[in-house]
Symmetry: C2
DNA sequence: TATTGTTATACTCTATAACTATA
DNA sequence: TATAGTTATAGAGTATAACAATA
């Protein structure tokens, strides 16, 4: 996780007296904790499909119609190219995606989903949405959209 | 983070055409990315102090005046007790914290900061605040407080 | 000479189980 | 019998460097 599995994420005792500590006001800490809770739930619900948040992200981008190269996937997901190789290997072995050599640059391989990959992605997206609904249970609809908008700006405006 | 170091976190090309993908609307993905950016910055700024986000969290709780036991630290930080041992070992070796046996339950050890630990924590907290300011640069003050409040509810209301 | 994908390797982080001392 | 801390170990995740094919 980064988007790694974290099976212990929701074991913390939220009623703990340590909630009074200053640490709980720091965004860095809160973000890490929210991510751990979210990844844990997402990985649990993705497990029956043989996916994790990492492979789901690759599959999702393969289904986007944007035909990303492995290099683009690595840059966009902030993963090393060698990790993308392993993730694409897994998805390719189960016939969810294909590597297609770019005729204009034969070094580059576009990753696209097969019909089976699209089916798998539909199921996985439902799992992700269930996980999201559980993780965001304390927030109402408007607050969820607020959070989404704020996170999106941090995730993609800050890096430039 | 997990709050692990992620040196590649902010290398993604935010101007990428992949921004159009549906994936970028999913909270799970955005949270993981925000955490990676935040942890990366925080770890970079903590490195000169010989700390990471993990050890900083333990030090911070040791400085809270709440005198947490290792078991409480493990529960609250969602870490395995054996990982707490290693983190406290490191901090104890540099004389930043002490283990004190609880006289009412001699199995339990309360972790408290030394004067040196408090000094280290003051420096580290400044580093964390600088990291936070950088990570949240796209947001104004009101939006930062909004985000803090939303994350706090997810981090601590959801787990019950 | 630089870049894409690939392989290999080492390192960190995380999960699990067993042990001890206390309760 | 159960719990706090500890130790040891294996697995997953991550970083780094080197290589072949292509540009």
């Amino acid at each position: 996780m980064t988007a790694a599995a974290n099976g212990r994420a929701d074991e913390a005792d939220a009623g703990s007296r340590l909630l009074a500590a200053e640490l709980t006001t720091e965004i860095e800490f809160l973000t890490a904790r929210a991510r751990a809770i979210g990844s844990s739930r997402a990985n649990t619900l993705l497990a029956p499909l043989g996916l994790k948040v990492r492979s789901y992200a690759v599959l999702s981008l393969a289904c986007s119609g944007l035909n990303p190269s492995q290099r683009e996937l690595a840059d966009f997901l902030s993963l090393d190219p060698s990790q993308i190789v392993a993730l694409v290997d897994q998805l390719e072995q189960r016939r969810a995606v294909t590597r297609e050599q770019d005729p204009r640059d034969r070094r580059s391989k576009g990753i696209t989903a097969t019909d089976e990959g699209v089916r798998l992605h539909d199921e996985a997206r439902n799992a992700i949405r269930r996980a999201e609904a559980e993780s965001l249970a304390p927030l109402d609809t408007g607050e969820r959209e607020q959070l989404r908008a704020l996170l999106r700006r941090i995730a993609f405006d800050a890096a430039e």
